[in-house]
Symmetry: D2
């Protein structure tokens, strides 16, 4: 019998929706040890929060996050607000003994992230950072194939996250819809928003990164601020690319931009090993491309694996072979794993500590871009 | 404020799950005039029904469908049982004045379907048949492009539904998991199960069909029955292909099989018009292929449209551009449209009467295969 | 040391060019027992023939094909003229003891084709019909995989040849460029021009065909004749589809049209077997798609085989892995095989007799379309 | 009437074959002002050279390249030998007043390349470097689309050249087949062999490069030498990646390796502009991917342009729409353009001077990889 787990969600934006959907879907599909109970949604505007509560089934709407964190009946605090508020909320929630699910990137920078990790680990609370793409079934399958040793020694890892939604100079910075362009709210541009995903997956699939050489660019130097209405300097990186060395001897190449016309949310990854290679991209997230050099040479080619069969990660919970799931399911998987681990008293990856490693690499990337030097991580 | 709509669902199999999911998700994403209230799930085995009720939030579990239909508090009867039970339940529900959502194919044959339509229309109850693929956004977009006249005069329509799950002679017929192979429960094989989808979409996109010439095959002639344990003749069609003439002068070519190794649920369609052509398939359901001859010849080619933007059918309700939805969302769209129409007192396509037309074509196809003659529809 | 082989080519159109190219390239790439010597090109207009001779290296230009056939120094007569002239020339060449390479389809109908076969076989001359697509390396590889038994029992064979070049009513019939639309010159429309290719490959890969049910359509009923300038009835089939039973128990589905907007020359084929399936299409002719159900289920998917490695059919003769060849290479392969077989005194498939079988199926298809009846072959 | 042009080809390896094929094919397809006359092939081993001469139609075989350069009857010297011999031969040929076609990369380094350019320009001889991929029709079309301004302001340029043929430690260095792994013969590894192609195309399509930051790797540190049989240090770069700034403000990202399992010769390029983007790769060289944001949003998507129509670059010379050409055709196009320009007394791009620019970037890339610093070009 599933135990009730009282949820306090802070943030009613895009991520607030994906997390709320996960809480609502979880036990329809997964045999979770916990039944999420949606106690409270918290956001700045009362009526928006109330409408959100009505839509998603939260018992209450709140505007002050401190009250959520302080409520004794809340078991899990879920942080879906802009990056600059993660640290304060997470540290308070840790001190209050709450389990914490936090959106990525963990913090504005690694110094801040380090404080958060210290607080979390002192409080010994269950914690996880929402790098949801790990739990797209095709990506989870990639991890499984690598762990089984199918690829052999790894030579190359490359990854992109390409978008095109800020090409117009009319897109503002700041505010509810475009806080990701405001350096004060976001900390960085594509590095924290998009490359953080690429880096998290890379660390998981290919191990640690030793050093980086990066370049960034801000194509549009000034934008109007959505709240002040004033034209201000743009402080974020519109684009970022970096090369790196992995500890296992392989070479990494990463790139992200919001100026790649034709790509809406094209997160790609490719790993080349001695025996086999893997490719994946988010625009066809239900497929994994796999090449195995050990195949009979006459029929050797890239295989397009339609990741919908019951023996593939998470897929037994959904429909039947051939019927694809979508983006939001990754959040359901993430929640299922987090609650399962919580019930067993185990950590669930990526923890805050693991996310700190990603943050350190983001910092090194931004440092390298500024200094035009190769930069060691950490 | 959404009005409560009391649901009685009959059938806890695969379709019972997809419909239950739709009831649960509807108002998270759509501003429906109705809020579904899950009153009762009905299935043959009490404990299975109870477990289903627990998982999906039904208030009660029932084993006798008559009781569901007779309950005065039920507003909508949803029929998700094998094909041979559709008619009896639907007619009883109509007589009881219930709104009805019925899984496809409508009936075992068009005579039976005709009775159902008469009952439904006499009772003047809201009714819809669950040909859900119409409401995959890419397919709905195809309809919109055709209605806008972008294709011009149509020359060709072709469609396939290819699977490979019954190639092994060890797959039984009959029973909960494999009733689709039992002619008594299913009425036919791929014709009613899969081609019915292809035909429904075709009628919607390309208008009525005048005559057909078909061939069917049963590759494996005898299979063990899952319930009796006895080896029995297989009465269904394993594969079916047919040619046809549409009323608009275009030629149609349809094929379905469960013996196409490598295809799990590959529903494809292609329409060739004077100016433009369209292609779609279920294995990448979030993409629509479009070719427009009026494009500048130097950059003319098939366009792969990633159907995830907010201006595309249904997509504003979900996430952001680039993030794909999956199979089950089509049932949410279907439900949203049905309830919206119900609220406005309008029919929602495909109605029982429209599904009768599909049934007539299925009958003509099976007749033609038997007689080896071209057969007129209806 | 390669022996000289004196060539007389009749027809300086599109096929005349592809054959001339093959003669010129052969010994650059293949160690042929013969060195083609281009003695004479024959065509209706002297100056065109002379220009062709200059371009391709023919010693002489001729306007009367009888003179080519009668020349004692000619070893091989190559027939690249419209279909209605094949029979007369081939029979004369056979009587003159020439080796014969004839463009497809063999004849206007199977009665005519039968006469040709009788003449050829009486004369015991080397003979081959130019169904060049068999010798696209990916198609040849498909044959090899089937012969190795990799697919197991075959259930389905489907094939299309889709074009879009006659959609405009302004395209004339008849004349040098558009004789394929003139029933007197071509005998039929897409059936002889395009489906003949599909049928030839199908017979080769999947064995004989027992019966067919076909439909044809002529979308544009009248067109101006390019030579007379008069608007005349169109006698050819613009589109043709047929279903069939193969002798091995598999089902066939074939379609061809010149009204499929977006497809220039899309010849496709797919074979579904018990264990494996194969797909190929002419628009990416250097790739073979292969699916093998015996693969480990986690990495099972359609493989896109880039047919460019040295162990693949014909490819050792060309470049290095990864570098694709094109359309015209199939004619070089065909010539290489024909001359090799000729040197060894063996038949080279497809012979005139084998092409007669294709012709019989074309006839049955056209008969079935007229009679609206299933029609046995032969 | 085409004028004879006497050819002396030095080098009978892979490139000797591609160039010989171009000489043989040229006037079959193009109306060139010149008819190449194959006077002499030169290579180290007499019998190999003689066999090559027999196969390709050279009048004579020679083993001393000086004799070729000195022959007064030779009009064009074609240099297809390993990179370390380019400079000496080219300078001698220039002094002898010969037109020169030289394989890429131009030289071992830019100092050497500069000497070559001085000699060439002093001698005022027609000259071209064989960066053949510019003249794949899809790539030439990309240039045309960019020059027409269709892409708008450019933000990103990325390019890869991925192979997998040296992953085995058993592949030797040096000798006829593997001189590309011997730093003395090749000058560098993937940088000069593969990235030089990417850079040449990039300069042509996107203008000059200001600075680079690169990393290289040699995965296998020692290999047996094919000629000496001794295990020696490997001096070449197995893999190389670099970031760069283009003068037009766009960012570049380049990568090449011979350790990317699954890729035989995957040369890719992608350009993202304000309005439109372009993608191409060598494994499907007859297709150009094009995305135009100005398209109607409902049917906006990447277009796969099958570059086979008569209005596309070079394609009118070949077959009919839908029928693809292959790799070697790029050399025919290159030759046609070179001879056309020669006849008109105009330079033909890429000239030696233009190839020097590519060489300077290769040098900067290798310098940057050694110094771990951003390095200015030139």
């Amino acid at each position: 019998m599933a135990k009730p787990l009282n949820i306090g969600l802070i943030g009613y934006g895009f991520m607030g929706r994906t997390h709320s959907n996960a809480y609502n879907r979880l036990t329809n599909f997964f045999d979770s040890p916990y039944q999420p109970v949606l106690k409270v949604i918290c956001g700045l505007e009362k009526d928006v929060a109330q409408a959100f509560a009505n839509r998603w089934g939260y018992e209450e709407a709140e505007t002050d996050w401190h009250k959520v964190v302080e409520r004794p009946d809340i078991d899990l605090v879920d942080i879906c607000v802009p990056n600059n508020m993660h640290a304060e909320i997470a540290i308070a929630a840790a001190k209050a003994g709450k389990a914490i699910l936090c959106e990525k990137p963990l913090a504005l920078n690694s110094a801040q992230a380090e404080e958060m990790v210290l607080a979390i680990e002192a409080a010994k609370v269950p914690n996880m950072v929402s790098f949801n793409y790990r739990r797209i079934p095709a990506v989870t399958l990639a991890k499984q194939l690598i762990d089984e040793g199918r690829l052999g020694k790894i030579f190359h890892y490359r990854s992109q996250f390409l978008q095109d939604w800020t090409i117009s100079a009319d897109v503002p910075q700041g505010g509810m819809a475009t806080w990701r362009l405001d350096v004060k709210a976001a900390g960085s541009g594509v590095t924290g928003d998009l490359l953080a995903h690429c880096i998290d997956t890379a660390l998981w699939l290919n191990g640690s990164i030793a050093d980086v050489s990066a370049m960034t660019e801000t194509f549009i130097k000034q934008r109007k601020h959505a709240e002040t209405g004033k034209v201000e300097e743009v402080g974020i990186d519109d684009a970022c690319a970096f090369m790196c060395h992995f500890a296992n001897g392989s070479l990494g190449l990463f790139e992200s931009t919001r100026y790649a016309r034709g790509h809406k949310a094209l997160y790609t990854l490719e790993i080349n090993g001695e025996h086999a290679s893997i490719r994946w991209d988010l625009h066809d997230l239900h497929r994994l491309e796999y090449f195995d050099h050990r195949d009979d040479s006459l029929v050797r080619g890239w295989r397009s694996v339609h990741v919908t069969d019951g023996d593939m990660p998470y897929m037994k919970k959904w429909w039947v072979p051939g019927l694809q799931i979508g983006y939001e399911h990754s959040f359901v998987h993430q929640l299922a794993d987090f609650l399962e681990a919580m019930d067993q008293g185990k950590p669930c990856s990526p923890t805050f500590r693991e996310a700190l490693e990603t943050q350190k690499i983001c910092d090194a990337v931004l440092d390298s871009a500024r200094s035009r030097q190769w930069t060691s991580v950490g």
